[in-house]
Every structure is written in C-alpha cells, then in structure tokens.
C-alpha cells in the first residue's frame, strides 16, 4: 500500500489537475463554494508508511501563480492545517513513537475524509501551473491603498514564517519561473530542487526597480553567504538550475519533471529517515534566531515597505508597467 500511495504522490506532482479523490483544500467552509470549486492551492496527502503521510501542496492560480492576497491566505491556511496534521507535536521525544490515532493531529486528520493514513511528516511545495513556480506579487495588490498593502505584506511575511518555522520540513520542487516574491516561499523551505530549462529563480526585485527588504537580504545571506547576497541582490540577479546549484541557492538540479518528482520524494524519504522530534528541534535551533529577528523588525519592515510602495513615482511606474503588459497579453495577472 505504501508503494502505491507514493506512486500516486508522484503523479500528483506531475499533473496540474490532481486526482479529485485525493485532493483537498485548506479552505475553511466559510471561504465559500467558489473557492472550493477552483482552489488556489491544491493539497494532496499520501501515505509514507502506516504511521504517517506527506503532503503535496501545489500553487494553482493560472496562468502564472501571481500571488494575490487570496493565494497567500490560502497557503497560510494550508500550513495551519498541515501543522494540525503534523506527524507528532515535537514537544518531547515520546511522541515520536506514539504518533497514533490517539494524538490530536491524527484526530484532526480523521475528521477530514480526504486525508489519508496518518499525520504529516513532510511537505512538497510545487506549482500546478505550467512554466511558473510563481510569478511573484500580483501587480494589482500594489494599487489598493495603504491599508490593503500593509495587510498584504504582513500576510506575505507571516506565510514565509509559517513555512520557515513549520515543525515538518518542506521541499520546494521548483518547476518553473520563480522571480522575486515567487522565489520567497521556496527560500523558506528546507530543501530546494530546481528543474533545468529556461526558468529563472531569484530575488530580482532590483531589476524591476524595487529594493530587497532587510529580512530577505538576510534569508539570501543565510542560504548562500553574506557576500553572495551582496553580489546578487543589488543587481537583481537570477539563476537557472545549474547556476543556482553552484551558488547554493538550490540544493539540486534535475532534467525533467519525472526527475523532479523522484528527487522530491527521495527528499521526503530522507526527511523521514531520522527522528522527527530530533530533526524538528534541530531545524528550530538553526532557524529560531532569524525568525525572532524577523518578528522583532516587523514594524520597521512594514513602514519601510509602504514608504516605497506608496510613492507617486512607484505608482506611476507601476501603472505604465501594467498598461504595457495589458497591451501585450490579455492576462488578468502577471
């Protein structure tokens, strides 16, 4: 049974239209029927073994996974739900062995008929949209005034932290372009695999006229090095799979969607090869210092963000960009 479930997991990673029977969304019932019929984030659960499962989370906002507020909120709800389904609360090593139907997380899983055999040990984050992991911030989000922007930016920060500090690790399967904020969530992950090809990955904010916020500079420095961040970010540099591998931005590069699925699953199995408790606390010991710093500087970052987004110059530049994009393609988002 385990093997079959893993095979299904592989398929879910390979198709944008996942099998309905194993797909759920993180939407609360209150979020309405419309969201349920066209989920922005697809979530599939597969058994790893009798005791636990893994989840495949796919961004699913066509045509480019532009990050609207709704996508962020859906992703945030997804991780809240995954946290409830976590393999075991890593509060003590005892739960490593006793992660059975009596734990709260398994009870939560049982309450959802779409959920499979056991609590979630690891996550794969990928895209269900061809050619794009995510195009980054939906340009429309910049134009809705200060209050909306601050809410949006706060949600983006929190979603990053939800992934970054989740008790179960996430592997990003980067199967398309991932510029700017489109790369941010994969940088919150615990492992990054990138598909070779024409795709670009990286914090290219400066190339489109925006500064990179301090916390994201630090994320880049922690992923590569202080100097690599300093050599890439001020030029809006992006990488492909191989240059990303060389600079440490991604952990492995693969040649095909099939290899991407295999590598992602192999990483899930690697996560699961050691004690969940010990692994989770070790990630926490590595990551809690930056997470605390990011939380402590929230006010400053929010203020700094609006001090740029709110300027007439940026809004004018944005209006010209949107007009130019609209002239090229009749896309709702980019």
């Amino acid at each position: 049974m385990q093997h079959l479930a893993i095979q299904r997991g592989l398929r879910a990673l390979s198709t944008s239209a996942s099998a309905a029977s194993t797909t759920t969304t993180a939407s609360a019932p209150a979020s309405g029927a419309a969201a349920a019929t066209k989920p922005l984030v697809l979530v599939d659960y597969y058994a790893l073994n009798d005791a636990s499962s893994y989840a495949v989370v796919q961004l699913n906002r066509h045509p480019a996974n532009a990050l609207s507020l709704e996508v962020l909120e859906e992703l945030k709800r997804t991780y809240a739900d995954l946290n409830r389904r976590v393999a075991s609360k890593p509060a003590s090593p005892s739960s490593d062995k006793s992660a059975t139907a009596t734990t709260g997380s398994a009870a939560a899983a049982a309450a959802d008929t779409n959920a499979p055999t056991g609590p979630v040990r690891a996550v794969v984050l990928t895209s269900a949209v061809p050619s794009f992991f995510s195009a980054g911030i939906d340009l429309g989000e910049f134009t809705k005034g200060k209050d909306h922007w601050l809410h949006y930016w706060k949600t983006l920060r929190e979603t990053f932290l939800d992934i970054y500090t989740a008790p179960m690790p996430t592997v990003a399967a980067i199967n398309g372009h991932a510029p700017g904020a489109g790369a941010v969530f994969s940088l919150a992950c615990h492992h990054r695999i990138m598909l070779r090809g024409k795709y670009g990955f990286g914090l290219n904010e400066v190339a489109v006229g925006m500064p990179v916020p301090e916390w994201l500079c630090t994320v880049m420095a922690n992923t590569t090095s202080v100097r690599t961040a300093e050599r890439m970010l001020p030029f809006g540099s992006m990488v492909n799979a191989d240059t990303g591998l060389a600079s440490g931005l991604v952990d492995s590069a693969v040649d095909s969607p099939e290899q991407l699925r295999e590598a992602a699953l192999k990483q899930v199995l690697a996560f699961n090869s050691v004690s969940f408790f010990a692994q989770s606390f070790t990630y926490k010991n590595i990551r809690s210092s930056f997470a605390a710093h990011m939380r402590a500087t929230e006010d400053e970052d929010m203020k700094s963000s609006w001090s740029f987004i709110g300027t007439p110059a940026f809004q004018d530049q944005l209006a010209r960009l949107r007009a130019s994009l609209a002239a090229k393609k009749p896309r709702k988002d980019a």
Copy 2:
C-alpha cells in the same frame, strides 16, 4: 560624447598623471595651495550618459600610497564631495527619474567647473602610484602620541564607513600591493577587481605583529566566511589575484592594466544597469547591520587600538623597523 568620455575615463585609470583638465581634488580651498599642486587624491569625473557620471578616485601619495592622516582626510573629503554629487538622493524612487540640474547634487556639480555632465552614479577607487594600491598605515603615524593616534584611527574608521555606506557603489581596481590597512578601503568597496602579478592583497597585520581589530575580522568574515577569516587572519595571510578570487576576497582577476580598466568600467556600467534607488537601498539593507555594529563599538575599538599601539614594546619594535627600512631605502614613507 558618452563614448569619448568613457574613453577618457579609461585613460585616467591607466596613467598616474591624469589630464589636468578633467582632474579635481576634494580639497577645500582652506587646505592650501600646496595640497592643490600635489594632490594626495586625484578625482576625475566622466559622463556615463546625459544624466549621470562616474568618478575615478586615485590614491596619489608617492612612492607607495602610505596612508598618512592627510591621505585619509583627503579621501574622506572626496567621499563627502561625491555624496553631494550623488546621482540622486535615494530617499524615494521619484528621484531616480528626476536627477536633473534642479537637484542639490547637480547644483553642487555645476558650481565646480571641473565636474562633467551629471551627478555621480558610481566610483572607481584605484592607485596612481606604480606597484602599490596602498602600503597601509604610514609608520610615522604610530609615533605621534595617544591623541594623534586616536584621531588617526577614528579617521580611518570613518573613511572606511564613508565608502562602505556611500549611496553610490565603488569598485576597487587593485593595481598593486595592498597589505594591511592598504587593503581595508577596498574591502569597504562594493566590488573588487585585482591585477594579476606579484602583488599581495590582504589583512597581514598578524604577520607584522599587530592584532586584527574585531570590526576588520567581521569585514573579512562577511567578505569570505567566518572560517576563512579564521584561517587567514591569525597567520597574516595575503593573496594574489587568483587565490583572492578562489577565497572570495576579490571578485575578479585580470591580466593587465588595460583589462583592469575595462573590467572596472564594465562594473560601473553593471551598477548603472539597474535602478539607483533600488540598488542603493538594497546595499543599505545588507550593510546597515554591520555599520551599526561598527559605530556602536567605536569606543571599545579606539581603546583597544591604543592599548596595543601605546605599549613600549610596540614602539620599540616600530623604531627598529623604521631604522631598518631607512637603512635600506631613503624613503620618506613606507
């Protein structure tokens, strides 16, 4: 016109005697006629395009660019002046487009008849002295008592920070030896290109019996890695262009003065290929944490510095070294 100006910029980089017509110094008129006739720091401006220029700053204290207090003060004044001529005050993105004759910086430029077409977008820091980028601290500075030393050391720290935190980026074109403090200012720069050859570059303080101050250890760690700093600094290790490239101390290595000029200009154009505002704020977001730390520990560093320089043992050792150098060569400085 742009092309010609760039060609002139290339020539300025290649000769120690820059064309008088395009050369100015940062000296305030109060600094006297003697300084004006033999400038310790040469500054040339060249047009990048109709809207902005770049500056070539050459250390010019023969025979080895030993860093006397006067050189530091001249370099400090140079950066103060460059800051006034900056491409645009990066306070908001609006100034990116409106950097015209109405800005304060352009007004300052207009007031100086030596200044060319527009405000300064980037800087090249190099040496006008054959074989030396800079020999480091002028040995005479160590011998003038506590008050003088503290003033000197404070000026050196501030000059480092002026370059490190300048709104416009600097590329160091390292065209000769750069030991100890002779390497420090290039480590403050945003990009380092080094000429291959017999030249040594690096913080070799320990090799000449001096400890490396904490802030400089951190600069080295940020440029390479904590461990690389720990492997090099306690041994006073220096690099040539290729070993510097391998360790990350320099960003590129070139074979000839011509290639050095071309690479420096290429880097200036790379700086200029993206929004000045976005780039400048991104550098700030990467660098402000260290700059704040360096400022916060000034008192401690000043005290620590004199606790070493002021010892009879160091002063004795220094006297022997100066006597030995004097016996070898009739140089005024080294």
Copy 3:
C-alpha cells in the same frame, strides 16, 4: 636539540603508549594514585625552540574514548594547566619577547619536572586509542539523574569553551571515529586535520534521535556555513576526511598516521611563525562574540538539554540501546 625534541613529538603522536619520561597528566595530586597510573588524558611537552614548547594532548580512555565525566574533568584540568604554561600572557605585545624564566607560566613549568624547555605555544589534540578519536558521550552519563546530567553538560560546555578561547591555539589530529560529542572538542580547535579511512566525523546527534543544541548548530555554521549546517545537522550527516575537506569541516586530509603527525607538527610551526600576541588577540577578536553568546545562553541550554534527556521516552530508548550494545560486545563504554 630542537629537532630531536620535535622528532620525539612526532613519535608521541604515533603511539598510544607515550614515553613515560616526557608524559605527565593534568591531574592535581588530590585526584589520587589510580588516575596517575591510568591517565585518561596524556600530556606530553616538546620544545619548539629555546623559548617555547608545544603540547600533545591525547584522549586515553580505552576502548573508544567515550566521554565520561572524568574524561571531561581531566581535559578541563589539562587546559587549565596549559593556560598556566602558555607561551606568554597575551595582555600586551611586550611579553612576546620576554617570555623567559621570569614569567609566571615558565615558573609553573619549572615547578613540574616533567615539563620541557619553555612555555606552551600551541597544542595538538588527538587520541591514544586505536580507531576512535572519541565515541562521544559515555552512555552511562545519561542515566544518573538530573543533577548529575546538568553537572556533566555544564562541564562539557566549559571544556569546549576552554579549548575554543584558549590563548594558545590547538590543532585537532583526528585519527579515528568522531561522532556527536566526539567531534565537539575538535570543532573548538583552531585547525582540523583528519586521517583518511573508514572514519566518520560529525554531529550525528539527529541520526541517533537527539536534537543538536543551538550553540552547536552555530559552531557548525561558523565552521562551514549557515546553509551547510542546515543541510547536515537535521539528517545527522557525518563526513569522512575528503567530504569533510570539501564542506570545510576539516582543514586538511591525510593518508597515514605518519602524514597526520607531520601535518600536525607543520601546523604547530605555522602557528609559531607569527607573533603569539597578535595571533592570540586576533583569534579572540574572531571568537569572542560566539563565546559570549554561548555563555549568555547557558541557562537556556542547560534547561533545554535536560528537557530532552529527562524524558521517559529518551531514557527508555537509551535503555534499549545499552542492552543491545551490551548483547553485542562486552564493552564498558561506547
């Protein structure tokens, strides 16, 4: 004479039974005759030149250098003694030249008839036990209750810091397996050389179900990079000499015990090739920030450590592991 002494030093590194005439232990006389007859830590002193010596410290608890409390205490006493015999108190550069019989350290050396020509300039830390540098924490230490564990853990932390902040540098000659805490003290050293072969080196805590404490995650990040620590520690990854070299965990890899001795001695000579004062203060400037952090978080770390070790789940798992080991081999420690 210097050459002969160095040759003897080489031999001491090569044999587990050092020549009695040059071997001493750090034990205070109060530690009893039993310890003197079977020292857990062997210490040999050899002349580097007329003015100073180096020490070879060998862990000597057969069969695997499992770290009992007594081993830690002996190692701690060893470094306390080495500090007294240090080449010169690096309080000022003057002592660099005047490290003679009038200094306190030389006086201490003179008081011990086993000590050779001069104060200690550098240390080699290695193992006198075949195949093991150190097997890590003696499993018995986990089973003696909260007070004992807290005392043990505090002693381990302090021993790490004693090596990490010692005025004279230590080179680790890793001549066997070094898993978990068996790698910790070598990570406190200033240089690491590892013998090629079947040996594993690294913080494999997670592979045996234990989280890596925050301070040890930071040590790993400082030795390699934040991301390398994040890629290795949550999986309990270990390295051999060559993969350790590639990741920066070790500084060189050698093929034979002879090469290990030569490389260790070469590193001692490299340490001694520059001013002790300048080197020692530069190490301090690089390392004091982490040392202060480690000291400041002691309470938190002690609490966190017991919150894991004290759980019934861990104690049960440990009991099973010890039973399984006892069934396999009649070893007293592992």
